[in-house]
């Protein structure tokens, strides 16, 4: 009989041992969650929004965006000041003397040269390499290295030892090539001169992007070496581990357990550490949308940075109900120009007020395949802009936004969310049946669209397919759009649902007719959205090829006068949203946050949706000034005081 207990005793022993050996993280001042696990903490490699959000806590670039100001202005970061030459191509950054790495070493101009060189290497496959190629010589450097690598892999070698040695030599040669041709000069430790190949009016915006933040060379270079077979620089993981990572931002990495949690501690060597009102941040990995909301309700979380639970539409509806109950006060506060989070804080405490729908710097749209022929070789009716216009007019965007999404998102008639980029005037876009003020106006739009189809000889029995990927409710949106087209244009439709990888492959290979898509801007310039429609752009899934559009973007890139430049870009956007319609903008995204406005302050309501979590102050704790931080208007004196 006792023998039978042996497996049980073994199991008990196992459980006991592992429970004892596992320690949870100590509590933190601020606990927030991202919607998924961090992929990388290497700034030059990242592109996911949650990675960037986390990286902004750990690293700091030359400059930063003032996310709490209405105009998202550029304020000093590691650079305390900068000048731009009269021809608009040479920036001289003066780095502050007290900017330090978390190990106490000073941040120097060499650190930026090293880090940006990393991003410019084809080896690293930085998702944002194109942004770096604005720098003089960068494109040549990239191409040179790429050609060398290709040649290397075709060459034959005497022995593997010889091959390896050659790979190392090529790497050393590459480093001196960079010094030779790329326009980044370290005048001294604290003066960095950057020469662009042509004026880039939004270059400071790029510098504020965390992909342009520096990494610590003595550490990172230890983990990079040429692959003996391909000579590509291989990036070994390891330097982003807790206690190993050396960074220059407001926080340092104290713990990171895969799929479990990440813990950050205030960086005692950060130059502006006194402005940080929290000492520690815990980021548990709660990726299940429902579990995140439940955990918030038990009080385990302070902020959910992206609520994706299927019932979030109801949460937003409850919030609107709450605002409705206090309509008078809300109207009064809005008239005073207060931002939404401040208004929420001034209203009485209510659990419904913890949900916040914040407009995002992104747009949901439908792609048209613009190629002359469909994948099966038949002529593609969508190659005709008239057909695309007709289909775009007959998507009931309002019902998609209000009845399917239910997050209070604004319908979109442009690709770039209006009002998100200072000084830029959005075009009007095509009239849409959802926006029609009356039934007559609606019918007029439908008639117009049907006429367009007739003019274009749209084939009668043609079946329009809508491709989308599983999950996230794309199926419901596709159904609504298909219904609009069936009803108003009398066309047959077919829904095509696929796994994300297959869906993406189909887009890339243009194996589709119409397909869902979305795009989020990276920096505060219209090109962050418009570039994806440039004929040769890698993200031009539509195979859209317009000489006029391309030439407008080209002209804009040469235009020195920012006002004229924005006019050119606005005209380019007008072409794609009023005439050619390679895509149908459906709505501008909102991100749903959960936090208690009476407890958390320092989050931004700016439509660029970039949060710098180190600005957060937990009200009524014993750290920081515990003062609410409302959004500041351009004319606020406090802003003028901090401007360079």
């Amino acid at each position: 009989m006792l023998r039978m207990l042996v497996p049980i005793v073994l199991l008990i022993f196992l459980v006991g041992f592992s429970v004892i050996s596992d320690r949870p993280q100590p509590p933190a001042d601020l606990v927030f969650i991202n919607s998924s696990e961090v992929n990388t903490l290497d700034p030059q490699r990242m592109s996911w929004m949650h990675d960037l959000r986390t990286a902004r806590l750990l690293y700091q670039g030359l400059v930063q965006n003032d996310v709490l100001s209405d105009d998202f202005s550029i304020i000093p970061g590691v650079a305390e000041s900068w000048n731009l030459s009269d021809d608009g191509v040479t920036y001289t950054f003066h780095l502050r003397k007290d900017a330090r790495w978390s190990n106490g070493e000073p941040v120097t101009s060499e650190d930026f040269r090293y880090s940006w060189r990393r991003a410019m290497l084809p080896d690293l496959v930085s998702d944002y390499v194109n942004m770096f190629l604005n720098i003089q010589g960068a494109q040549e450097f990239y191409d040179w290295r790429q050609t060398k690598l290709e040649k290397f892999s075709e060459r034959s070698f005497e022995s593997s030892a010889d091959r390896q040695e050659q790979a190392y030599e090529l790497w050393i040669e590459t480093q001196s090539k960079f010094d030779e041709i790329v326009g980044m000069q370290a005048i001294d430790d604290h003066t960095l001169e950057i020469t662009l190949k042509h004026p880039v009016p939004y270059f400071l915006e790029l510098c504020a992007f965390v992909v342009f933040a520096p990494v610590y060379e003595p550490l990172v270079s230890q983990y990079e070496r040429p692959d003996p077979v391909t000579a590509r620089l291989i990036r070994k993981p390891g330097w982003t581990k807790p206690k190993v990572l050396i960074s220059n931002g407001p926080f340092v990495l104290d713990g990171w357990r895969m799929k479990r949690d990440m813990r950050l501690e205030k960086n005692t060597n950060y130059w502006d550490k006194d402005s940080i009102a929290i000492d520690s941040i815990l980021i548990p990995s709660i990726t299940d949308p429902n579990a995140g909301v439940l955990a918030y309700q038990t009080g385990a979380l302070d902020w959910i940075s992206d609520v994706t639970a299927p019932y979030r539409g109801d949460m937003v509806a409850q919030k609107l109900e709450f605002l409705e109950e206090h309509a008078e006060q809300v109207a009064e506060y809005r008239a005073q120009g207060l931002d939404q989070f401040t208004i929420d804080r001034l209203l009485p405490a209510d659990p419904r007020a913890h949900t916040h729908a914040v407009s995002s710097f992104g747009t949901y749209f439908y792609n048209f395949n613009c190629k002359p022929n469909l994948p099966d070789g038949q002529p593609n009716p969508f190659a005709d802009a008239r057909v695309r216009r007709a289909f775009a007019m007959c998507v009931d965007k309002k019902s998609v936004a209000d009845e399917v999404r239910r997050l209070g998102e604004p319908t979109a008639s442009t690709l770039i969310p209006p009002g998100s980029i200072g000084g830029y005037t959005s075009p009007k876009g095509l009239p849409n049946i959802g926006d029609a003020s009356s039934e007559d106006a609606r019918q007029e739009i439908i008639n117009k669209a049907q006429e367009l189809l007739k003019d274009a000889n749209f084939p009668d029995d043609f079946i329009v397919s809508l491709a989308f990927n599983k999950d996230s409710g794309h199926d419901l949106i596709a159904q609504a759009i298909a219904k609009s087209w069936q009803k108003h244009l009398g066309v047959k439709t077919k829904l095509e649902q696929n796994e994300i990888k297959i869906f993406r492959d189909d887009l890339k290979n243009k194996q589709y007719m119409t397909a869902r898509a979305g795009w989020f801007g990276d920096y505060g310039d219209p090109t962050t959205f418009l570039d994806i429609n440039y004929s040769t752009d890698g993200n031009n899934d539509r195979a859209y090829d317009s000489e006029i559009f391309d030439s407008l973007l080209d002209q804009a890139s040469r235009e020195l006068d920012q006002v004229k430049r924005l006019v050119l870009l606005s005209e380019a956007e007008r072409i794609i949203t009023e005439e050619d319609l390679p895509l149908i903008p459906i709505f501008h995204y909102a991100t749903i946050y959960m936090f208690d406005p009476h407890k958390i302050t320092g989050l931004s309501t700016h439509p660029r949706t970039k949060q710098n979590a180190y600005l957060i102050d937990v009200l009524d704790d014993d750290r920081g000034p515990n003062e609410p931080k409302p959004m500041r208007h351009q004319s606020d004196p406090i802003l003028e005081a901090t401007s360079p």
Partner: protein, 334 residues
């Protein structure tokens, strides 16, 4: 006994090789390029070079290189051929230290840039093992208890109700039970935390949820075995000699009835300990189960093979352990 252990251990690498071949073939056939970030595509020539670097451009090359890295063959080869020494010298020339290199290298994760597959398994497997072991323990207590009760008075109300409960345990999916448990015990009653793995309290809910299907199966096995045993001659003999009822049940009958449960425990433990995607999602347990699903979706080849090999090894080892225990508990089996 020794021969059986030896034979199984010898078969282990062969089975693993077969599992590896099948897994890789299937994973290779999954469409999509694992190196592509869907939103920002690198240039085709860069992709080509990366494919070359990871041997993703040729199935046979990948097959051989992964195998030689994962088995430690490459490590041994580089060690004895002097390659490692050369690498060290070159690093010294460049003035950088040589990064540590594991003997059994399962490769990089293509999705999680900052982690190797070895690290992912190292971080997540202990969590899954803890949870799985607790679940199997709970399943044993519930299952054997319910089975014995049911067998003592077959077709009584008590029997039928335990049967009904075990049917529910088998049929209800984990995410339903899990969500209900969370709502009742974590939100309404506030007895257990949500989303904080690491304290004994946080193991309770996921372990119970994970245990239910196993418990149900064990209950049915025990009940069946007990009913069989209670009708046997040696039980009548035991009762005739005046043994107490509890001793008849637990000592004489259960000993035989437990054997099928024991053989079920092998695969069940391996299954429970390698994690469950659903349970991990619902209770935010940082275990290995998620990778069985997500790695395939991301076409993270190295990670897929890594977790499958771990699972296969555990399955074989636990079956072996059970076989050994089996013979030890019941010496009639040779």
């Amino acid at each position: 006994m020794m021969t059986i252990i030896l034979r199984r251990l010898l078969a282990l690498p062969i089975i693993l090789l077969i599992v590896y071949s099948i897994t890789l073939t299937l994973a290779w056939a999954v469409p999509g390029n694992p190196l592509e970030n869907p939103e920002k595509r690198p240039k085709p020539e860069v992709i080509e070079q990366m494919n070359k670097q990871y041997n993703l451009d040729s199935f046979p090359r990948f097959y051989v290189s992964y195998l030689s890295n994962a088995t430690g063959y490459q490590y041994a080869k580089d060690y004895f051929s002097g390659q490692m020494k050369r690498e060290r010298e070159l690093s010294e020339q460049l003035g950088v230290p040589v990064p540590a290199r594991p003997i059994f290298d399962f490769g990089p994760s293509l999705k999680y840039d900052d982690a190797t597959v070895n690290e992912i398994i190292r971080d997540t497997l202990p969590v899954s093992v803890t949870l799985g072991a607790s679940a199997i323990l709970i399943a044993l207590f519930i299952g054997v208890g319910a089975g014995v009760i049911g067998a003592v008075k077959p077709n009584s109300f008590l029997d039928l109700s335990t049967l009904a409960v075990s049917m529910i345990g088998i049929s209800l999916p984990g995410f339903v039970i899990g969500t209900v448990m969370l709502l009742v015990f974590a939100i309404n009653l506030d007895w257990f935390p949500i989303g904080q793995w690491g304290t004994p309290r946080s193991i309770v809910l996921p372990a119970i949820t994970l245990s239910l299907p196993f418990a149900a199966y064990i209950a049915r096995l025990t009940r069946m075995g007990m009913i069989d045993a209670l009708g046997a001659d040696y039980i009548r003999t035991a009762r005739a000699k005046g043994a107490a009822e509890y001793s008849v049940l637990l000592k004489h009958a259960l000993k035989n009835a437990f054997l099928p449960v024991l053989s079920f425990l092998g695969p069940a433990t391996a299954m429970a300990m390698t994690g469950s995607f659903v349970i991990e999602r619902v209770f935010t347990v940082p275990g290995m189960g998620e990778h069985f699903v997500n790695a395939v979706q991301n076409k993270d080849l190295f990670l897929i093979i890594g977790v499958v090999l771990v699972f296969a090894t555990m399955l074989i080892v636990f079956n072996l352990v059970v076989d050994v225990l089996y013979r030890w508990v019941d010496p009639r089996i040779v």
